[in-house]
Symmetry: C2
Subunit: 308 residues, 2 copies
Amino acid sequence: MSTQLSSWNDGAARSAIVDFVTRVTTPDNPAFVPPADRIAVFDNDGTLWCEQPVIQLAHILQRWEEMAKQDPSLRDQQPWKAAVEKDMTWFRTAITKHYGGDESDMPAIAKGVLSAFAGLTAEDFAKSVAAFFRTAAHPSLKRLYRDCGFAPMVELLRFLEAHEFANYIVSGGGRDFIRRIAGEIYGIPQDRVIGTSSSIVFRENGDGGDLLHKAKLDVFDDGAMKPARIWSRIGKRPILAAGNSNGDIPMLQFANTPQRPALRLLVLHDDAAREFDYVSGAEKSLALAKQYGWTVVSMKKDWKTVFA
Amino acid sequence: MSTQLSSWNDGAARSAIVDFVTRVTTPDNPAFVPPADRIAVFDNDGTLWCEQPVIQLAHILQRWEEMAKQDPSLRDQQPWKAAVEKDMTWFRTAITKHYGGDESDMPAIAKGVLSAFAGLTAEDFAKSVAAFFRTAAHPSLKRLYRDCGFAPMVELLRFLEAHEFANYIVSGGGRDFIRRIAGEIYGIPQDRVIGTSSSIVFRENGDGGDLLHKAKLDVFDDGAMKPARIWSRIGKRPILAAGNSNGDIPMLQFANTPQRPALRLLVLHDDAAREFDYVSGAEKSLALAKQYGWTVVSMKKDWKTVFA
């Protein structure tokens, strides 16, 4: 395995990964897990790609600006007001408050998010996402959003696949947003993307019909919902779970069971030079990583490169 | 393709299948569909296995009898009363009424179904299903339930896989029930089973935790919900859809889009000698099959064998 995971520095994180994969894939090892049960789940924002700012928000901001052009009354309401005024501080504050348990801005954001694409067909929404990713760029990293995936994590996905793992994304972000780019960035097919979803409703049309996005939340795939959605989709417990924030704690816990080994990875954003340096929203998960011995992945120390 | 689909008689249904698969898999054919988009969806009850009686009901009946033993007050309430008295007529009537649009017995059945396994962990429920299928037998066909899959449909699944289709079950039956047997009967992995589900909730337990079944419906995967769940799970429209009842109509319609070909199959139960002869619950779907040219599969005329 020496030539693989080459964008990871030698250290505790890389060793933990290699040791775990060796144990579960060696037939005469007591920790052996058959290939069909080698399920790995990955949070997306902050785990597989950067989350400052939340990339999906940029797509929604584009749409809110368009909506406010068509209906000027929206300019006095959040979140359209912040979108038109390009007031990113309002959004950052709302997200920070959310991770700290203060949900006061969430109803307005949820309403804005859900109404943004209401009435679109599922296929037109997919086209909108594809168009966004062709040109949209990160404001400070100076690269396209589709180039914001973490190279060592993409390499880890390939490493796991080479050892007959099935990789899934389990994100608090939008399922129908992520799945349109997950193939290109991560090599993960769209049926292996689990995430937050708005309600979609079938509209019959003779011998045909469409699915329409409604302004209604279907599932908010974060926290304790993540294990439930993993089971709903896969029907199995993962043996490897990777996250970076408090919202990933139940998913990381769920991977552990007395019957067999589990690897839990927590990505630590401590690299101001190459990405960002923050622990906001990850305080509790970092404390639990220490308490339970989860593997903390330091972007600064464990990764030779951050972006491809 | 002459040696494949050997349990199908020559006729319109077999020809429609072979012609369709030939067209969508021939690169220079205008109807060519790339392998990644060859999605096929199958209803389960009455399409892949027999539905008289509904097999899942037998599993729940076992459980209701156990519950009524432990709590005698349940013996005066439906559906426990019918379970204890082995009054199958009450259940058959309720199902017939349901397919006819009369939902009057459904709240009691739903309450009974949902409370039957409330409090069990997801893994213990899986064990209960596995135990059921080891010994439970069909009352009149004189075979184990796990041998009640339709051999020509299983053969069709293999035929489609050989042509790089991905097959999914999309059932009004229970997802966590079907997925425990779908591998053995159909060769369909559990992450490709979409179906009705009860709510499951994560219960944290230190560095671990379990999912518990709640006495609450999550999704009733029938009718217009089927296209929505297909999109939620797969993110694509199927190009082949197979069903047998009115509850499959939206799924069959959804497969059709002007951009590319679609095959819709409707299994007709017209074989009293080898299975059953009924159209109850399929009246509207049969009328639409005629109107739109969907392919009706006659069990009597199109299948050389019904069961393996």
